[in-house]
């Protein structure tokens, strides 16, 4: 069964900390994505990557960065966590440039205190 695995289900971090969220897929997908999900706001795209070492900003990249050193791994970095980054973070991957058929991870619930 194909999978997108997010390293943590729940995280609690302090304001100002540097936070790493990890995502690994085992499907050899080219495209990987990071979204945040907030009640009433749906899913908003933070960053995506269409190849190793390639990255593109999404709709809300401020305060975030990403790293994709290997095809299977896509990391989201909160440079200095703030309380307004408390959210559910979802990683997804897809096989082709057309973005067909995302596979989602289970999500990481991040709380910044």
């Amino acid at each position: 069964d194909v999978k997108v695995t997010q390293s943590s289900r729940y995280l609690v971090k302090r304001t100002g900390e540097k936070v790493f969220l990890e995502c690994v897929q085992d499907m050899d997908h080219e495209n990987m994505f990071w979204y945040r999900q907030d009640p009433g706001l749906g899913l908003r795209l933070i960053y995506f990557s269409y190849d190793v070492k390639m990255k593109e900003k999404g709709d809300i990249p401020e305060g975030y960065s990403v790293s994709r050193e290997k095809k299977e791994r896509f990391s989201l970095i909160l440079e200095s966590a703030s309380t307004n980054q408390t959210s559910m973070y979802l990683c997804a991957s897809s096989l082709s440039r057309e973005g067909r058929g995302y596979t989602f991870g289970s999500g990481t619930r991040l709380t910044v205190v």
């Binding site: 495209n31 009433g40 749906g42 057309e98 973005g99 995302y102 989602f104 289970s106």
Partner: protein, 111 residues
Amino acid sequence: AQSVSQHNHHVILSEAASLELGCNYSYGGTVNLFWYVQYPGQHLQLLLKYFSGDPLVKGIKGFEAEFIKSKFSFNLRKPSVQWSDTAEYFCAVRGGYALNFGKGTSLLVTP
């Protein structure tokens, strides 16, 4: 950028009632449209998708959606809902590499 809007944020239905969730998209050209579902505590799953061809698309668990180009709509339907359909439903449109999601509709089905 392509975007979608979902009309209903919260829907409450009784079991066996019919369901229709509205979705409108902004782009007038070729579109790829999706409906995803998120059951409580679970990850997002693809319900169905439209790329081309027959505008009536059938998905999993008895769901279907109709693409109406003239109305820029892609509404999700199910003739008879079950308690297990309680979930959040998201419409999405492809914009370049990524999908743009609507704000979601929370569906509660009561026994």
